[in-house]
Subunit: 458 residues, 2 copies
């Protein structure tokens, strides 16, 4: 009863999946905009082959050396800048974040943690304490006194909006928390945040935010954890890790979902200096040979299929496509993201910016039922249409998705607000091909050059 499903009122029973498509028990094909876990595409033959082979050969628990484990650790670490050159392999993003907190505390000897409001860091006791998106909904929950919650660095809906240098203003909020903690004889040991904040509603902080926050936290003797479970391993396109977009190097990075393309595996990456403080570490399955063989194939595929370049260009297409239809819809409040992490705010009206869970939910069901496209409505108010598709998502997929999104949202708006109060591409007044960055060929230099015409989304 407590297990949550997508499309709760009519959950889908899936029987198979391939690339960016899933198939239900009636054989219906769905375009998958939800499964960030299927990083390089559902059931990628190379991943499947690697998993199948290793599974038949050796699938042991912790305690023995295996070549594949060493190779995987080396290859994974090559994607990180100095001094992040130690990794711990575990089974899930939750296990990774739990270990990251333990590393931070072992190193700083300070218990207090700053997290960001509405954040979600995993489904373990320790992590619910630092996941306001969860604990705010729990009856009788008492926030631990070692947890400090910073405001979401959200320039659309947050406390500092429509203002100059919001990055500095949000960073100052973190400084204030530290000052206040010190006044109460508490020492902040850790700042943890996703680099792009998924659960808070695909929030992309101002570009200078993390640089300032990391500097403030380190100045107070703390360390900074970047939770890259949703955003890492090439998903943002321009870099392996989203923190690189913000020109920072965290002290500890956690990564998860994309690493195993569906196989349970996750990692904590940090420096020798911090890793050496931990003491004994044991994980029965962490870094098991099957996970590592699969992880290696995922890294190979990202390279061979140029998926980071695809994430960059297709992500840009999605973003520009949504931006193009934004003026046409009274209920579209904001479009934001980076690479293949895209969020669209659905609001009752552009002026009030009041979240409309109702419209977002209708749109999500309509996209599923009428267009066979899976897009979640998420965020603290369930009004942010969230796209984190497999990286093999094409520009055609992006184009189809934006077109259907536009059409179905218009139908909803017409139904809710009276006919024809909103526009849509289908009205003929506007053509998506004309105005947006959506191209059918995402990899050519030509399309790259064309895309360069569009303003940088920052």
């Amino acid at each position: 009863k407590s297990c949550k499903l997508h499309f709760e009122s009519a959950p889908v029973k899936m029987v198979r999946a391939s690339k960016q498509y899933m198939y239900d028990d009636a054989g219906t094909e769905y375009l998958d905009g939800i499964n960030n876990v299927a990083h390089v595409g559902h059931c990628h033959p190379q991943v499947v082959h690697a998993g199948q082979q290793q599974m038949a050969r050796l699938s042991t628990n912790f305690g023995f050396l295996t070549d594949v484990q060493g190779m995987y650790a080396k290859r994974l670490l090559e994607t990180f800048p100095e001094p992040l050159n130690v990794c711990f392999l575990v089974n899930s993003g939750s296990e990774a974040n739990d270990l990251a907190l333990r590393l931070a505390r072992a190193y700083t000897k300070k218990k207090d943690i700053i997290c960001v409001d509405n954040a979600y860091h995993g489904n373990l006791g320790s992590l619910i304490n630092i996941s306001p998106c969860r604990f705010k909904k729990m009856q009788d929950f008492v926030k631990e006194d070692w947890v400090h919650v910073a405001p979401v660095p959200d320039v659309y809906r947050g406390i500092h909006r429509d203002t100059s240098n919001p990055g500095q203003k949000y960073a100052t909020e973190v400084a204030k928390i530290i000052t206040h903690a010190h006044a109460n004889n508490r020492q902040i040991g850790t700042f943890i945040s996703e680099t792009l904040l998924a659960k808070p509603g695909i929030i992309k902080p101002p570009k200078n935010y993390f640089k300032m926050v990391y500097s403030i936290v380190r100045g107070a003797g703390g360390v900074c954890i970047a939770d890259e479970i949703q955003t890492g391993l090439g998903r943002v396109g321009e870099h392996w890790w989203a923190f690189q977009h913000f020109d920072v190097v965290p002290d500890i990075v956690t990564c998860g979902k994309p690493m195993g393309n569906g196989h349970p595996m996750a990692a904590v990456v940090t420096s020798h200096q911090i890793a050496d403080c931990l003491g004994d570490f044991i994980s029965t399955y962490g870094g098991n040979p099957v996970a590592c063989a699969i992880g290696l194939s995922v890294l190979d595929i990202i390279h061979n299929e140029k998926l980071m370049s695809a994430a960059k260009s297709v992500g840009r297409c999605l973003l520009e496509g949504f931006k193009a239809i934004l003026p046409l819809h009274t209920t579209m409040g904001d479009v934001r993201g980076l690479g293949m992490v895209v969020g669209v705010e659905i609001v009752t009206d552009k002026e009030s910016r009041k979240p409309s869970k109702e419209v977002a939910e209708m749109l999500s069901y309509k996209l599923k039922n009428d267009a066979r496209m899976l897009v979640a409505n998420d965020g603290p108010d369930k009004n942010v249409m969230t796209l984190v598709p497999p990286l093999c998502f094409t520009t055609d997929n992006a184009k189809q998705l934006v077109t259907k999104f536009d059409k179905l949202l218009k139908e909803i708006e017409d139904g809710l607000l009276g006919k024809d109060t909103s526009k849509s591409i289908d009205d003929g007044k506007i053509s998506l091909d004309m105005i947006s960055g959506i191209e059918s060929d995402s990899d050519s230099d030509e399309s790259e050059a064309k895309r360069a015409r569009y303003d940088d989304v920052d």
Copy 2:
């Protein structure tokens, strides 16, 4: 640096494994007495096939219904008595224990927990707090005031030994803790223990211990968690779950390692009454189709290959074999276990019962190097030779193992204590076939009947 390996001074690099054997990079075959995770045998073709097939078809994250998930939950729950008919699927034993604590607290609304001394419940922040075997070794660790540690119900080395009704005496220790907590205005919400206590040194509590403890804890408004991660799913032979040996039904059961035969999967099983208190539950990979397909094949194999019957008879052979050589060795202190969970205490001498990590470690390395047999020396003093082999371990394997154990331990004793102060089967004075329950055919009625001659090990 913090990652622990078996045989730390000369770790083995394994490249493949099959049934109860592992093979290193030189092709050397090792008899595996360590890998409880390879429950039905390393790389069992049926498990491999199930995993390979599902991996190629659908490996999605949480949020969609799949037939295989429903089937697995149903089949797993069939192994449990009423009212344990809800299961949560997660990725690791640690995740399972963390969730079990949250369920217990959500249900009882009481934070305090009683765990058993030297216990190990997993490698997460929340679990280290209730794992004395870990936190006792950590510098600067301060035990949380909501954690209460009961003495290990160990009749060989514990505080109540060589006494009548030790079960009652150990249960009374738990009652004392509760009384003391009440006097300090604290309420005990949870009692957690492995049913056979692995890390504390393969401790098999007196038969009436859990019945009395559960009654005491429930009388005080608490719930009882059985950690069956090491001991569950048929390993004890006579029952699916070790708690059934003790005639109790826990409120919450956690299971892990054996379920996926190496694939990361685990579960929490409880009643509707308790499950309904949790609120939202999300696990990205928990209950994913690949894990469930593998889990189903493991259950099938346990049935089809009669592995519980094998665990019972081969386990009995191991136990009786070790008991037969116990009088021959000055350094063998105790032999205990149930089914395929067997522990042998190595001591400096039988009178003092002083643990000998030195001899145990030498024996472990000798078994590996001279006999190509993997047996861990574990327990709080690293002096308990611990056997938790794959369930396809045969009586011949058991016989060979006991014979080599006997021979190599004699060599160590001779070297340490001067020649020929200890006896061994090889002396010709004694024959293992004559005296022990070790038979070469474990499945026949005849061997079953023969085995019935030997005293019950309780």
